[in-house]
């Protein structure tokens, strides 16, 4: 039924021709086979996350096809998975008629199209996706205010019980903070933490 409404809108556009429609990932592959299709409008929910799998398979077979995702999911995981699968565009199901048509024309011409909500998610993810080492260098591992306090006291040679007393938290919590710091900063031991604190001017 959603497809019926969509068809009715797209049929009114002179430069868009609807070739076929598919119910699931299997039909997508079958119906794109010999049809010389420019753009495939792809949903994600076709039983599980089948749209992602279908996109990958479709683009392995027909790499020239432009896949435009039309989904209700705005979580970055879905968006990034679709991008990795090779989609050229991603719009949400609450998009208006103008946006759907603009998106189709844009991806057909070889460019990418993402609705504004989607692109801000992508930028956010690309920014945070750089490698841990790079982030470490740029001091981008976000330490919580409490972690910074703990790290500082470790670097000042406080023992766990002393840190606990100083910060009014239990020794057990201090130990967990310390273990988390080791993981987050990729340090092997306390010396590694002290080194990090020094080189990042957490203590003088």
């Amino acid at each position: 039924m959603f497809r019926d409404g969509l068809k009715e809108i797209l049929n009114k556009e002179k430069n868009i021709q609807i070739i076929d429609e598919a119910e699931n990932g299997y039909e997508v592959l079958e119906k794109t086979e010999n049809n010389n299709i420019d753009v495939v409008l792809m949903d994600i929910d076709m039983g599980g996350t089948n749209g992602i799998k279908a996109t990958k398979e479709l683009l392995t077979k027909l790499p020239e096809t432009k896949v435009l995702v039309l989904s209700m999911h705005s979580d970055s995981k879905y968006i990034m998975s679709m991008l990795e699968a090779g989609a050229k565009g991603y719009i949400l199901k609450n998009a208006g008629k103008e946006e759907v048509i603009a998106a189709i024309n844009t991806v057909a011409s070889g460019d990418s199209y993402f609705s504004s909500q989607v692109s801000s998610k992508i930028i956010e993810k690309l920014y945070s996706k750089r490698t841990a080492i790079e982030k470490l260098k740029n001091r981008e591992i976000p330490l919580t205010p409490r972690e910074l306090e703990v790290l500082k006291l470790i670097a000042l040679e406080y023992s766990n019980p002393e840190i606990a007393e100083e910060l009014f938290i239990s020794i057990r919590t201090v130990e967990t903070h310390k273990r988390n710091l080791l993981e987050k900063l990729g340090a092997k031991n306390t010396a590694g933490l002290v080194k990090y604190a020094l080189s990042n001017k957490i203590i003088d």
């Binding site: 409404g5 969509l6 209700m72 609450n94 919580t144 009014f168």
Partner: protein, 337 residues
Amino acid sequence: MSEALKSGKEYNFLLKIIENLPVGVVGFDLQGIVKFYNLKAGDLLNFEKDTESITNRPVLDQIKDFSILHEKINHSLSHNGEAFNIEGIRHGNKYLTIRGRMVMETMVVTINDISRLKEIESHSIYSMLEGQEIERNRLSKEIHDGLGPLLSTIKINLEAINIEIENHIDNEKIKKRLYSVYKLIDTLAQDMRSISHSLMPKVLEDFGVGAALESLCNHLGGSDNMEIHYYDSGFEERLDKSVELNIYRISQELLNNAIKHSGASRINIQYIKHPESIVLMVEDNGNGFDKTRQDHANTGIGLKNIETRTKMIGGTLYIDSNEGVGVTATLEVPLKQ
């Protein structure tokens, strides 16, 4: 006890009754010297095993490793035998309810083993939680797979009608009304999505805890007065389905508690993978509470649910707080090797 009673048959009769009570009983004077006790008390409080009897010896010596009880009795002794109650405290592998009362000149402490009750209670919470999840899942699927697509369909069909209207009718009033219908549909779709999301986020099923927590924090969004920060160590591997669901629910509950009760300006939630476990930490910088005054009698169904869920996935939960320094809740779940 009165001398008459002490010397008579009645005294022995009374001791026999005490000896066979299903609860632990220990009586001592205001100097803390034990006057009588039964085996059940010795058993529950782990009195010294190698001594014949602890009668006429200080009671406090017997409970050194039971700090809360030690403290209460000590306090009571120095306050003329003030009555005390300890509800459902954990001692070793048992849950005990302990009360102390002055009876004539003797402080009588009764110890009730409520482990079995606790077990039944936790079992019924478990069943309730399980039923709740099934129902949530069903509702969420119905919204997500039924109502959601239907609404998208209504909207796109309306768009198609709109094209006709635009071509044939030039009426500002109708256009305006149609526009407001669009807006209503969008609002409705958004509301439904957030209901479905809070019932059972699809992203949890599709991508796991990290993605679901990130999405949750995005949804909650924080406010001008309260920032919510999320961090995970970026691991992709999936855990057991029920483990994922329970970690997510525990996080949801801890976050909700922090948002509602902490008065914090900043909440940090972290989901960090360690070599042999996963650590979830929710920290806030709010009011906190004095954890030594909690007596382990955990209040509220919320915390009980969290504890039951923790038990279900073999994890440990530790809540640390002090007045003025916020609350730090840590959940650690061992990874299967």
